[in-house]
């Protein structure tokens, strides 16, 4: 069944269009970012790309720094592919899809060096801020990777540190106006290869038939900060360079919406 679908999609791509009439490097519309959707989170954002919807929330904790980095705080990204968001997802511990998603989003933020980890330290070797970003799927209709990356960054942008009481414990109900100072806004864009064509923002049908994908994290100035190849087919060097160009260009467009 997929081979029929695949042949049809490839024929369309070769004539420069797609199942829903989009151009190859167009995102679905609307792309919406809604900030501050959860008032229990220290920062949150709901992102919609076409029918795909995710919500990201940031919680902070104070904990002991890791022994190898006594002067640094930490950051963690977790994703939950809720069975609420798709008939294909099941309850239970995160599967490999959710783990890869979390790690790819995490890597783009961490390796961009946009977060000042030393600035998160409160007391060397004793106390530091830890930033936990949870990205949750609400409706899974394709391209969760880019939606998750955008939501995580938007939630970080929305985040304000909570106040500390006299004993140095967090008063979660009291927010300060202190932000997580970001030196750059790393965003990931996934470019998929089907046949000999490159597309962004695949829908569910397109995702079923991709040969390979490359997720590229990039910064405001076009510097690359993370990459992840996926899919079963190999990529030629020329493919990779072309996919990077598309990803960096698209990341610039998405960044304007933040």
């Amino acid at each position: 069944m997929n081979s029929e679908l695949r042949n049809h999609i490839i024929r369309l791509l070769e004539s420069g269009t797609r199942l829903d009439g989009r151009k190859l490097t167009d995102y679905r519309q609307p792309i919406k970012i809604e900030y501050g959707v959860s008032n229990t989170a220290e920062g949150s954002a709901k992102v919609q790309i076409g029918d795909t919807e995710v919500i990201a929330g940031v919680k902070v904790e104070i904990s002991t720094p890791f022994p190898d980095t006594p002067e640094e705080g930490g950051l963690m990204v977790n994703t939950e592919l809720l069975p609420l968001s798709s008939p294909d997802f099941e309850s239970g511990p995160p599967g490999i899809e959710a783990i890869e998603l979390a790690r790819v989003v995490d890597r783009a933020i961490r390796e961009s060096k946009a977060v000042d980890f030393k600035g998160l330290c409160i007391e060397k070797g004793e106390k530091a801020w830890f930033i936990m970003i949870d990205v949750i799927s609400l409706n899974s209709s394709g391209n969760l990777l880019d939606a998750a990356s955008l939501a995580a960054i938007a939630a970080v942008k929305d985040m304000r540190f909570p106040a500390l009481n006299d004993e140095g414990k967090i008063e979660y109900k009291e927010k300060t106006d202190k932000k997580l100072g970001m030196k750059a806004w790393p965003l990931s864009v996934t470019v998929s290869k089907i046949g000999s064509s490159f597309i962004v923002d695949p829908d569910l049908d397109e995702e079923k038939v991709i040969d390979a994908r490359l997720t590229v994290g990039s910064l405001d100035d076009g510097t690359l900060c993370s990459m992840q190849k996926g899919g079963n087919s190999p990529l030629a060097e020329q493919d990779i360079l072309q996919m990077i160009d598309i990803a960096v260009e698209k990341a610039k467009e998405l960044r304007k919406m933040l």
Partner: protein, 237 residues
Amino acid sequence: MSYKERKNKRGFDETRPMEAKVGVIKRADGSAYFKIGNTWAYAAVYGPRNLHPKFLQDPSTGILRCHYNMMPFSGSGERVRPGGSRRSKEISMVTEKALLPVLSLEEFPNTVVDVFIEFPQTEAGSRCAGITAAAMALADAGLAMKDMIAAVSVGRVDDKLVVDLDYSEEAYEGGPVADIPVAVMPSSGKITLLQMDGLVKKEMLKDLLAKAKAACAKIYEVQKRALKEKYTRVDEE
């Protein structure tokens, strides 16, 4: 000492502001969200669908499975670790029992109807908000229902009987408190969820159940309006 005034000048019989919408998760067979104050519940229904492993199947009826879960950032304090807790398992179970009486799943032997309930933010009353959202999602899924289900918590805060306790009332320290989540079949008036934490007299409980029914009648109106709106809404292009 007595409990004099609620936050935001809310009346003692008044719920927090409510908002409901149906059809909010496209991939689900039925879905809804329900907000009451700062508590926000999403519900999605999948099914009736095949049930695996096979030994769980019941040849005399379809079964209902409910899953209550808080998003990790939805608690007022520290991050809630993902994965089920004793609390979420128990709430899932009582949610199932609260919804089952209005369904006729014997028409769908060997199948399952899965109801997933998730919270982006919570501030008291989450199991009732979840049940209210789930009932709308079941209706949106087109399942035959004998009645609706609406749920609210009632209780006492010191000398006052109150509807829809908020967090400050659950944690009130100036006198005795009781928190009683109730789910009601609005047409028949029958009760499908009843739990209680705290201290009350039997006479007080009688009054509180009457208040719960009255509040659920209002919630039922919100549910009906949301369900009708889905079919009158013109999607803006």
